[in-house]
Structures are given as structure tokens and as C-alpha cells.
Symmetry: C2
Subunit: 315 residues, 2 copies
């Protein structure tokens, strides 16, 4: 059977098996191998959302009509080029929002209450000799959420339950949200001690969390990132954390992941995760199902379930 | 000035200074030193809630009328003996409930999403070579709360925000609680995958979390303890965790703290904390204020603010 689906990057074995069985899957060969005839028949490209889909990738797939991307953000896909070529793009939003929000809250509590520090304190036997110092608390904390999409909304609900005062920044005020809206990110950071980034990546948010924004959180401030590494000025963040001008950070994403700057791993006011936001068995299964359903819909000429929209708030 | 307040164990410097200034504080000398005349004048005993106040301690304080204990549980105080002697007991409930509930939720998320494992995974450089395995999720989780007092109620609210199904066990059904009540702890553990202990310690809860209860949670189950170490059969818990018959545990308290069994520190399905439940600067300050206000009320012949009640649900 001629493969009708091309694959860029790694996906889980089950998704691969289902798609291969139904449509035939061809792994994208390296570009340097020259023209690959099999690619001419592929109308669908499946990607894991980590590898970027560039224009030159599109050039190699003349029959391409759909890019089905795993994950909440398709910011690694050249969306403008896809639009110009009439290529549709789907992602897998919604099914991962609650899991990502859980992790964001867990990371926030871990940073403020120093859970990983306490864990090491016990394991290394230090508790036998002394008490661990008192920590900060979430009491009275004002939290600013960057990007009140599905993840941000799920997180806001959790923060309210923890009696935090929630506000948000995004491109637009949300009519159905009962939280304070800040049209300006820096002003929000000034008014908050906690900033949690849940926005998508891509051009519109690149470098949005600047040195000024992080400085505004201050020595008692905490920054949590479950969005994308490149929305932050990572070098400035490291300097502020090293010098105590930013209190703490909890980071699930990094500028050049899986590479994490050594300076970050050396700090004890930082909690680090290997991009685990949606990395639960149940979320990944649901994401896989949603991707397969989009591909099925395409080949059956049905309406796509989750086409990517250009929404700053993101999933 | 003759000291009117005796002190058992360590308290923070500020509480000591305030009480010493107002009433004079005498540290309890070791019993082996024989009769200490100064104790005869002490009508109040202040304790940190960790050291136990036994009957023989009471014998050394003939004028004792009030024991003011720091913390939510006065389970280390010989309450029956106090009652028989007409000695009142106060604790510092309420002001720490939200902080303890934050930590309980943070520990639960840390255990299920393996936050400390992920933190070490990044710091040790393993992420450069491979991906961390997928983890469990809170989606669809049924959580049973043992002790729906102030802490348990604050925690229940957080669990609902995380879309968990909440039920509880305690001595009595709570009229104002909209969660399912289980009159039997083992039945609740059977129906849940997560069990969080928030009850007070003392005789009524000693060993309540038995091998059977922990086994009922099962290989996918998670046990969180922010209550007291002696409510659990610690040895059984360790065996179940080592053999995978209990999935994970997150423990803020231990049977013989600060001693933690080596077997626990060796497990990677366990998150450990050095009794940090209320160990935030803000909670400890509020607890200190509440203790001082109780002592002030006693000496001014006013009604005590927070007398200990014999409530299984606890704070």
C-alpha cells in the first residue's frame, strides 16, 4: 500500500500502529536524501508538535492537505505558509488542559513551599540535625495568569480554590471570565507576586516574559512556566534568580529543551520538569485519539474536529 | 519577677519574648533535677505540640490551670488527666488549615505526577538522553479524605477544583458537607485510589491506617499523610510501597520524626517532607498570635479563644 500519511518526529507506538494500519505511514526521510517518491502521495503529515514543520518541509510534500499535530499548541508549524497553500492544521486541545493545570499548580506549590528542597532535606538525613527553615505561603497571594485559554481557565479555578486572587493578561478581555483583566503584562506583573504562563508559543509570544516583567515580580515573586521556553528571556531569568531579585521559578519548558542551562540546575530556588505538562498516560491516550479522529475525518471528507485557530490565549 | 508561664520544648523567639515580657517564662527543667520551686507559681504551660505533656509533667506544676499548645492538634497532651484536674487546654486551629491543605494538595500532585523524580531527572542530565516515562494523572480520581475538619474541608475544596470526586470518613457525618460520607474507612479506601489523612493524632486514630486500608488503595493508589505519623502502620506501608502493592505515598509526618526509616528514603515512589504542613512564616506568626491571645485571655479572666474540643475530625 502506498503510504498516505507522512510522519515527522517520534509519536507513540499505538498512534503509529493505528494510522499505519488504516492509511500507511511513511517516516519523513532526511532532506539530504533527495526527492523521495513516496512523499508525493502523502496528503497528511503527522507531527508531535516538537519538531518544527518549516516551509522547506512543505515543499517536499506536494499533495499535502492536512497537518495533524499532537499537543495544544501548533506554534512549531509554519501556519502562514500552510494558510497560503490551503493546508489545514489540527492540534489536540482540551483533552490535556486539566492535566497541564494540575502540573502548573503542583509546580507553584512545590516552588513556594519548597517541596523538592524538603524532599532532599529528609532524604539526605539533614532533618536529624536541624529544622528546615520556614517557607513562603500562598496566603494572600495575587496570581497573574498569562493566557486564559482552556489551560489558564482550569488553572484559575484551582487558584481560586486555594484562595488566591486571580487576574489575567491576554490579547483580549474574556467576556465570560470573572477575573481582573490587565491589558498590559508588565502592569499585571507589578501587581502580582506570582506569574504563571499558559499561553501558546510562536511569534506573538516570543520573549514576552522579559527582564522587566520578571523583575516586577520581585524577590518574593514566583514565576511558573508550563507554556513554551522561548516566551521567556531565559538568560535574564537566570541572572535574576541567581541574585535573588526574582524569588523562585518552576519550569516545565526551556528555550533549547531537552538542553537545560547548568546555571538553572545549580539553583535551589528552582523546580525543574522535563516538559511533563501533558505527559500523563491518560492525556496522551486522549490526544492520540483526537489526532486519529482528525485524520479519519480528513480521509472521510468530514469536518475536522479541532482545526487550529489563531488564538493568543491558546488551549 | 516570678515566672507565671512554664515552657516545655522549643518555641520561636518572638513568642518567647512576648510572653516573657508580660508574664515571665520559665523553661521546664529536666525532671531528674528534682523539685523546682519556680514551677509552683506557674499557672500556664506553653508547649509546641511536639513534646508530650504527660501526667508526671502535670504533677510538677501544682498551680497549673492552662496548657497553651501551638498547632492544630493537642494529641500529645494528656487530655483526660487535664480534664480530671480542671486544667484547660488551647490549641491554634484555623489559622493553619489553608497552608496545610496547600501542602497536602502539592504533595498529592507531586506524588502522582512525580514532580521530585522529574526534578532529579532534569538536574542529573538524564533528559539529554531519554524521555521521562509518562505518569499517572488526577483525571477521574476518587479521593477519600480522612477527617473533614478545617484542613480536610479546605483540601476538599481544592480537590473539587481539580475535578476529583471527593468523599470522606470521620466519626460523624457532617451536616454541612456535600461530599459522600463513608461510615467505614476500609470501604472508603476500597472505593478510592487516593487517601489523604488530615485527622488529629492521639488514641482515637492510632494505627487507623492499617495494612488492609493501604492495600485497598492498590497498585495505582496514592496515600498522603499530613496528619500524624502514628495513625499509620508505617512498617506495613513500607512493605506495600516496596512491593508495588501500594502505588505511591507522600508523607509530611512519621512515627518517630525527625527519624525517617531508611527504607522510605530509598524509594522513588515516595515524596518526603520534614513536617512542613504549617511551616510557613505567615501561619507560624498567626499561630503565635493565637497562642499569646489565649494566654492573655487566661490572665485577664476572659473567655479562652480556642479551647481544645474532643473532635475526631480535628482542625
Amino acid at each position: 500500500m502506498l503510504a498516505r500519511v507522512a510522519l515527522l518526529g517520534e509519536i507513540d507506538a499505538r498512534t503509529f500502529a493505528v494510522l499505519d494500519d488504516r492509511y500507511g505511514v511513511l517516516r519523513m526521510p532526511p532532506a539530504c536524501d533527495g526527492i523521495h517518491r513516496g512523499l508525493a502521495a502523502c496528503q497528511v503529515l503527522v507531527t508531535n508538535g516538537v519538531e518544527g514543520v518549516t516551509e522547506s518541509e512543505l515543499d517536499r510534500l506536494p499533495a499535502l492537505k492536512l497537518i495533524a499535530s499532537l499537543g495544544s499548541s501548533a506554534d512549531t508549524v509554519a501556519l502562514d505558509a500552510c494558510r497560503a497553500r490551503g493546508i489545514q492544521v489540527t492540534n489536540t486541545p482540551g483533552v490535556l488542559a486539566e492535566d497541564v493545570a494540575d502540573l502548573a499548580l503542583g509546580l507553584l506549590i512545590a516552588a513556594v513551599r519548597r517541596i523538592c528542597v524538603g524532599h532532599d532535606f529528609v532524604r539526605s538525613g539533614q532533618w536529624s540535625n536541624r529544622r528546615m527553615p520556614l517557607t513562603g505561603s500562598l496566603r494572600g497571594a495575587r496570581v497573574g495568569i498569562l493566557g486564559l485559554g482552556r489551560i489558564g481557565s482550569a488553572l484559575a479555578r484551582r487558584c481560586v480554590a486555594c484562595e488566591m486572587e486571580v487576574s489575567y493578561h491576554g490579547r483580549n478581555r474574556k467576556a465570560d471570565a470573572n477575573y481582573r483583566f490587565w491589558p498590559d503584562l508588565l502592569s499585571m506583573a507589578d501587581a502580582c507576586t506570582i506569574l504563571i504562563a499558559c499561553c501558546p508559543g510562536g511569534e506573538s509570544t516570543h520573549g514576552l516574559i522579559s527582564r522587566e516583567v520578571l523583575s516586577a515580580l520581585g524577590p518574593q515573586g514566583t514565576f511558573v512556566n508550563v507554556a513554551r521556553g522561548n516566551i521567556v528571556d531565559e538568560q535574564a531569568m537566570i541572572e535574576l534568580l541567581e541574585t535573588g531579585r526574582l524569588g523562585a521559578a518552576a519550569l516545565d519548558v526551556f528555550e533549547n529543551e531537552p538542553h537545560v542551562p547548568e546555571a538553572l540546575t545549580a539553583l535551589d530556588n528552582v523546580v525543574l520538569q522535563p516538559h511533563q505538562g501533558s505527559a500523563t498516560a491518560s492525556a496522551r491516550h486522549a490526544m492520540s485519539n483526537q489526532l486519529i479522529e482528525n485524520v479519519d475525518a480528513f480521509f472521510a471528507n468530514r469536518r475536522l474536529l479541532t482545526p487550529v485557530t489563531d488564538d493568543f490565549e491558546g488551549d
